[in-house]
């Protein structure tokens, strides 16, 4: 059985306007999305600003009220707060935030920050708690001296590692990482990603890795989904997405990433322009008349694409 099952998730925000501030329309932040998460795997959620990827992450963890659809965890419906509370859901599902400074309370010591989930979910004695916190800090490469410091005394990369330590303190089964390295410099981004991978192999955690950086997602994730306008345009394994993209939007996204291979740059530029041209001319075929992404069609065992029906062909 899957660890998490998301069925037709929808999150809409009302747009109020007009005379009495009545709800006139909705922002379809997430507009009908279904997928499953297996234990120990890493899933990537890729999209541009406003594509709804962050909203999906926040609704799975319970920070966002869902409009409709279902989220099942280990077979339990966890769509409402009451249901989550009943099974201590957040003990098993944790989150790493993008902005490491804002996600750590500036008035708390590192010790208290990491111990917070422990105090809520595990009834540990003081000695056990301290032992556990030390162990966690050690896991992310920080030392004993750091226990009683405040967040501002650390660099961005270190703070993000503290965020990782907090997220894994209760041995969760799923960690949602929302742009965990986007705010970091390249030289420290690798530190955080490496620790995340190590921890995964050690504790068999599933990651939902949300990012706009296709290079990082490619590195971290076995399977991934590309989001556009609140829906999935393509869903598949790393190989499916990067080597056999079928949706016009995926192709455009992939072509837009600047590559560090300087020798190929003219060719790549040319390729990008071609894809862009195709996107401009054929775009309408891939979206319905309201600009909504078409329903997903299965093209192989692992690969689904939001294609017009006449284009579906096996691989």
């Amino acid at each position: 059985m899957s660890l998490v099952e998301i069925k037709d998730l929808q999150v809409h925000y009302p747009i109020r306007s007009g005379f009495f501030n009545r709800i006139h329309d909705y922002v379809y932040a997430v507009d009908g999305v279904s997928f499953e998460i297996e234990p120990g795997q890493t899933y990537g959620l890729i999209g541009e600003t406003g594509s709804g990827k962050t909203t999906i992450g926040r609704s799975i963890i319970g920070l966002e009220k869902i409009t409709s659809g279902k989220i099942l965890f280990d077979g339990h419906d966890v769509s409402t707060k009451k249901e989550r509370k009943a099974i201590d859901y957040n003990r098993d599902v944790q989150m790493i935030f993008q902005d490491s400074l804002s996600s750590l309370n500036p008035k708390k010591r590192i010790y208290d920050i990491i111990a917070e989930p422990l105090r809520n979910f595990e009834k540990l004695s003081d000695t056990e708690e301290k032992h556990r916190v030390r162990e966690l800090l050690d896991t992310v490469g920080l030392g004993e001296d750091d226990l009683f410091k405040y967040p501002f005394e650390f660099s961005g990369g270190q703070r993000q590692r503290i965020g990782v330590a907090r997220a894994i303190s209760t041995n969760p089964k799923l960690v949602i990482a929302d742009e965990p390295v986007s705010a970091l410099d390249l030289s420290v981004q690798a530190q955080v990603l490496n620790y995340m991978q190590e921890i995964q192999s050690q504790f068999n955690i599933s990651y939902l890795f949300i990012s706009h950086d296709l290079g990082v997602v490619r590195h971290m994730c076995d399977s991934m989904a590309i989001m556009h306008r609140g829906r999935f345009v393509e869903l598949g394994t790393r190989d499916d997405i990067y080597n056999h993209p079928q949706h016009i939007y995926t192709k455009r996204l992939l072509a837009a990433i600047p590559d560090v291979n300087v020798d190929q740059r003219d060719a790549q530029r040319k390729h990008r322009k071609e894809v862009e041209k195709i996107f401009d001319t054929e775009q309408s075929r891939y979206y319905d008349k309201n600009g909504r992404v078409l329903p997903l069609q299965k093209v192989s065992e692992t690969h689904s694409v939001a294609l017009p029906e006449d284009q579906v062909k096996g691989e």
């Binding site: 306007s17 007009g18 005379f19 009495f20 501030n21």
Partner: protein, 319 residues
């Protein structure tokens, strides 16, 4: 934009209703009734009772309330027991005095506050700025009435530069003589109140300018080759001053609150003084009318501010 304004006006209606209810309830708790003043030892109890019935004083409260509101809409706030005149007539003359003094004070306030705020913001962290900020701290800390009393004592009595009370000299004649006398009476209370009312404007303007100076927008302007002076006047100043324009409406509430003190201390015959006077004489019909008027004026002040804001800021205007 019209929709925003209209909606803002519509929101005001329940506020006015609640305000009137509140004032009505306060009025009900006030001792006495419109006939208390006319009671003499000769008054016949049954006659009085009949009068009260006729005036609806024994009706259920909501009937009385509606009656009161309807009368109010017709500008009928009842009769002042103290002056034996319709309340509106009593208030009328005073209202004009208060209006002049307030207008004079508002203009002075901004005339003082805007340059100070601009200078402090532009020359941030210089001695000029520190001086202005010290002035700002003093005006923030000193209670208005103490400042007024000391000012009156110093300039009205010790130095004798200004009259110590009233709104116009009895000996003034002719249009110009009269106008000058009125202005002369307003100078001391107006200047003193204005000095103390500059606090929030100076503070806001200064921090707004300091804030704007560090925006990328200003760097863009410089990068365009706009000379420093123009960067200041075309970008920083404009963007900082527009919100100030919108604050004018809010300042009405503060001024009205202050008018009670100013008019009392300078024995200036305005609405504030009338209010205190009526309180001492238990002239409740005048009191209710004044509270209602002050409340409605404050409501219109906030409305005005919101409208100015939506007119000057395109981010709100377009919606």
């Amino acid at each position: 934009m019209w929709k925003t304004i209209l909606r803002r006006v519509v929101i005001m209606i329940p506020q006015i209703i609640i305000l009137s209810l509140l004032v009505f309830i306060l009025a009900k708790f006030m001792p006495g009734d419109p006939f208390t003043g006319s009671i003499t030892p000769q008054t016949d109890a049954s006659q009085l009772h009949a009068l009260k019935v006729q005036a609806g004083l024994y009706d259920p409260w909501y009937t009385q309330y509606i009656h009161w509101v309807v009368n109010m809409f017709h500008g009928n706030f009842g009769t002042s027991y103290q002056f034996k005149e319709p309340v509106m007539a009593v208030i009328g003359g005073r209202a004009i005095n208060t209006l002049w003094l307030s207008l004079f004070t508002v203009i002075l306030t901004y005339l003082i506050a805007i340059p100070l705020g601009l200078l402090a913001g532009r020359y941030e962290d210089t001695n000029l700025d520190r001086g202005i900020m010290f002035f700002n701290y003093v005006t923030y800390a000193i209670p208005l009435f103490v400042f007024l009393v000391i000012g009156l004592w110093l300039f009205g009595y010790v130095l004798g530069w200004f009259p110590s009370g009233g709104s116009v000299s009895l000996s003034a004649n002719g249009f110009w003589g009269n106008t000058w006398s009125r202005l002369y009476h307003m100078i001391l209370p107006g200047v003193l109140t204005a000095l103390l009312s500059t606090t929030s404007t100076v503070q806001y303007l200064r921090s707004e300018i300091v804030d704007q100076k560090h925006q990328d927008m200003v760097a863009t302007a410089r990068a365009k080759g706009v000379p420093e002076r123009k960067v200041f006047s075309r970008h920083i100043l404009r963007n900082s001053l527009l919100p100030i324009a919108a604050f004018m409406g809010y300042s009405i509430t503060g001024l009205l609150g202050g008018s009670v003190f100013v008019e009392q201390i300078f024995t200036y015959p305005g609405m504030g003084q009338l209010f205190l006077n009526s309180i001492s004489n238990r002239d409740f019909s005048v009191i209710t009318a004044l509270v209602m008027i002050y409340g409605i004026l404050a409501l219109f002040g906030t409305l005005l501010s919101d409208i100015i804001m939506s007119v000057v800021d395109p981010r709100i205007r377009i919606k």
